[in-house]
């Protein structure tokens, strides 16, 4: 379903931030433009099979989010290839395509359109979304006035409307109360039953253990381990977390 082939992503971190034309021009005469190369991902290869629930774990800054963004088509790899056979719905860093100064209603319509729904289809789902996210009294409130928990609930509810066969889930459990987490749990089991392909990123090793058929460990931008869930989590605890 998803094949990642020798993907490398390099970010250039300038020593001096030159963002304006004025700076660029003056820098032409003074010092040369210098930057450091930061390898966010180095030669990453793996594939995700159909119906697989794949976990990706790694410490902060290990390149998980960059990898997900590349799979979702938001970033382009510096080198290497990505092949995605089916439609993907990303649910990255506790959010979908939200804009804070739009109302809840507008954000639902925009994200519905981004997921490929027509206006009628969104209208049909609108009340369900509001109900599931428990936002009955906040339909026409600007999104950035909602609490973080409310925003996550809304984002989650919108993302699960999608019928895309591949789902990317990044750190959903981190925010949200027990009731919300229970909803997530039920949903993930439902996905497993339906045989959907899910790429799951979490720091919560408990839930990784619960859902994932296979786990990959990212460390400093490289895949250091790829295999069955129990072994990998054991390895991760012993080798990476205790370092």
């Amino acid at each position: 379903m998803v094949t990642v082939e020798n993907v490398t992503k390099v970010f250039q971190i300038p020593h001096e931030r030159t963002k304006t034309l004025y700076h660029k021009l003056t820098n032409l005469f003074h010092s040369s433009y210098s930057y450091e190369k930061f390898f966010a991902l180095q030669d990453v290869s793996f594939n995700v099979k159909k119906n697989e629930f794949l976990g990706i774990i790694g410490r902060n800054g290990s390149g998980k989010t960059t990898l997900l963004r590349i799979i979702a088509g938001i970033y382009q790899p510096t080198s290497g290839n990505i092949f995605v056979k089916e439609e993907i719905t990303p649910f990255l860093e506790i959010g979908v395509g939200f804009q804070g100064d739009f109302t809840v209603r507008e954000n639902i319509y925009i994200n519905g359109a981004l997921l490929g729904f027509s206006r009628k289809e969104i209208e049909k789902r609108f009340n369900n979304i509001i109900e599931f996210a428990e936002l009955e009294n906040f339909k026409d409130i600007k999104l950035n006035k909602l609490s973080a928990g409310m925003q996550v609930r809304l984002a989650f509810t919108i993302a699960i409307q999608s019928h895309a066969p591949i789902l990317i889930v990044d750190e959903v459990m981190a925010v949200g109360d027990t009731i919300f987490q229970k909803k997530c749990r039920e949903l993930f089991w439902e996905y497993k039953k339906q045989g959907r392909t899910v790429i799951f990123v979490s720091h919560d090793l408990g839930s990784v253990k619960e859902y994932c058929d296979r786990v990959i460990v990212l460390h400093k931008g490289q895949v250091v381990k790829d295999g069955n869930t129990e072994d990998i989590i054991k390895y991760y605890k012993e080798q990476i977390l205790l370092q």
Binding site: A72, G97, A113
Partner: protein, 257 residues
Amino acid sequence: MSNAAFSVRKSYNIIRELALADFRMKYHDSVLGYFWSLLNPLLQFVVLHFVFSYLFVVEVPKFTFYLLSGIVFWNFFHDATLSGMNAVYAKASISKKIYFPRNLIIFSSTATALISFIINTSILWLVVIVFDHFSINQFLIVIPFLSILLLAMGTAFLLSVFYVYFRDTIQIWLVCLNVGFWLTPIVYNALTAPLPLKMVALFNPVGRILIMLRSFLVYDDFPSVEFMVTTFVFCIVFFVVGLWLFNKHSHKIVEYM
């Protein structure tokens, strides 16, 4: 990549939802609401009309309609180019989370500006019909209308590419717009202007579009076919080049934000 079938229908839905939400947001919190977008060009018109009818008299036949049409079209160009450039930044919260063709950002911000433009142009036309004349030729204003639409989008695409690399593009462009207002025959007649100004005004695509517009709308005559064709073709080419460059750089737009 996950470009999996971005159908025209899906793109259209995204443009519509973004444009409508932007339009609502722009006028939602103000008392006068949408009337602001009418009031603004109207006040501009009143001031310029006063200055150039009483203080420095310009010899332009039917000056009232001449000036009003110039302001309506110029304001669209002004708003569409500026908001297009802003949108790339303002929509980063969305484009960092989910993939969609990045050029839809510019299409939707132009669509927002287009809503006001259509209303203002209709009012302009109505004013001409009520206070001056009606002619079947006035339907030809669709040519300058489309021309300025293409030109504004092409410009917004180019500016957005610059904006990713140079954050002061907005300031520079604001200055350009200020100067451009006076280098475009909005308050004076291009054909009777002093030679250097005349050349600039005639080579300026917005100026050429305005000449077409006023021929059809105000003076009921035709510029030469050659003049119309070159202007329209220029706008199409400009749009295509802008879109092409934007698409070429579009993946960087998200990464640099």
